[in-house]
Symmetry: C2
């Protein structure tokens, strides 16, 4: 491949002149510019980003770590991120942990090592998980976390107010007169799942309604698993089922149908995410909208801001909204 030296040679000038010219610095006269342009064209020269990164220690590259791209909500977050990032001349390095928390450390490790200028880690951790590790990371490189809601970690973050979203759902259902609820959560020890459950229970509690132990089941954010959970829960005859994702809500719909019940007449179902899925089901799902694309965009903006001028940790909270359709 042609390098800056070869074009300098061909143009009969010094490499520094070529460098300055391609960097858009002024002070190079027309005649020289033309010679350089000609040389560049002839050799098919393109500046070597890696070399540039080494010298300037800016890579124009941002690392993204996600649990999996196959979950539409994460895909949406990534979409929001890449849109904003690309618009700001950053490229993105994607690392997917495939839902293995253990791979997160590995992924972040490879991304560090001077490969990226900043990092965004999306998705909640299990238990207390990699808390300490991330504490360390944020001292090495600008970091923003998305939907990872430590009680007291001091991170730049954009978080969706999952709890508030669940309360909207509960509030709405109670208002409609339902009293006997069931919930399908994601993973029992997953932060996001817990927050969603917590908000729902909390709102019910304030309305003086108890949610029985038996009325909560894990659906693992999977259609099939949620279907089985739903079959079990339906045995307890809930009046309404709250699922922690639209996909799982769709499974509830299916289970309900297979039990010979009809939604919303016999039972209400409510999902979470307002993903495409929620429009597609019959009946279309009432759901808690969580603005995933915007979350990604917000994270990108926050990171860019933080890289420009570091400072105390900043936080942006994404609102949730209730989208009422036909399943309630």
């Amino acid at each position: 491949m042609a390098n800056i030296k070869s074009v300098a040679q061909k143009a009969g000038v010094n490499v520094s002149t070529v460098s300055r010219y391609v960097a858009g610095k002024l002070n190079v006269k027309k005649e020289t510019r033309e010679k350089i342009d000609a040389a560049i064209a002839e050799l098919g020269y393109r500046p070597h980003a890696t070399a540039k990164a080494l010298k300037t220690s800016v890579t124009n590259c941002i690392g993204i770590v996600i649990p999996t791209i196959r979950n539409p909500l994460f895909a949406d977050i990534v979409a929001g991120l890449t849109q904003r990032l690309e618009a700001n001349k950053f490229t993105t390095m994607l690392y997917s942990t495939e839902n293995h928390l253990s791979k997160e450390k590995e992924g972040i490790g490879t991304l560090l090592a001077g490969r990226v200028d900043g990092l965004v880690v999306v998705g909640s951790s299990g238990k207390t998980g990699s808390r300490d590790w991330l504490e360390e990371v944020k001292d090495i490189i600008p970091l923003v976390v998305v939907n990872r809601c430590w009680q007291n970690g001091d991170f730049n973050r954009v978080i969706t107010d999952f709890t508030a979203g669940s309360r909207l759902a509960a509030d709405y259902l109670v208002g409609k007169g339902y009293r006997r609820f069931a919930v399908i959560t994601g993973y029992k020890d997953n932060e996001e799942s817990q927050l969603k459950l917590y908000g729902f229970e909390q709102e019910l509690w304030q309305r003086g309604i108890m949610l029985g132990q038996d009325m909560v089941a894990e659906g693992f954010f999977s259609y099939d698993k949620a279907y089985h959970a739903a079959r079990k829960l339906l045995g307890y005859r809930p009046e309404a089922v709250f699922a922690a994702s639209d996909l799982m809500a769709a499974a509830v719909l299916k289970a309900t149908k297979d039990c010979g019940l009809v939604v919303p007449e016999d039972m209400a179902v409510i999902g979470y995410g307002d993903s495409q899925i929620s429009q597609i089901t019959t009946p279309a799902l009432t759901t808690v909208a969580q603005h995933a694309v915007e979350s990604g965009a917000a994270a990108a903006n926050l990171l860019i801001e933080v890289m420009k001028e570091p400072g105390p940790a900043r936080e942006v909270i994404m609102r949730t909204e209730l989208v009422v359709r036909q399943s309630t």
Copy 2:
């Protein structure tokens, strides 16, 4: 950040020794190893990937260009790619064109420039589009294209046999006794869409059935657009509708219902992709399965192979299958 020099200094050895040791080369005695380990731990040294890349000209990084990550099929392809690539110690740079073909050149341009060791471009082009440009790219860097099916370009590629998939659909429908068909394509000038349409028409043709001009409409791979297209097409009273994606097929289902028809009794609907969507709709969609995750994995394997030993362009074809559910 600590660099190799500082650890060499602290350990009291030469940088070359540190370099060799961390690279796993032998011939460094125990005593020295311990000193180096101590220095590394104390300084928190991690090798600088960019510098290494510059010297060795291998980045351990692969570029991926996709139209959009929000389409589940592309997300699946990316998932397959990253899984295989990460397993082979590559990181991935993702560039999303947001369906703007014009951004493709830009994206590939940034990825080139010594940033990646190889490139995979997924998604079909418009018209003849960026053909010449990619011709050029493949001389610069190992390249594999996914689902971009030139008539005669000499590329490494993994392609899904869309035409065959459509023929399966047509064959099946004709076998069931349907004779009057409508089709919702993606984009009129999009390769993938054209192939899907072509296969369907071809099979019908062989069976002596004509597909009227009016019976084909663009759905732009969008739920809403496809819904409108479907409303129009239903006016012509087709016996079966073939949609070029599951999402659009779901829209057809909705349109059908809104017209007071019931699937499959009054009309059959068939989708494409076998994405999660196809299980979720009521009735569940009969669809052409296209193994997107496996396509991604195959592309990764192919690229790795090509990088190891270049040679004449290789090609892998992904089969399609008919998955029969309740919509036909």
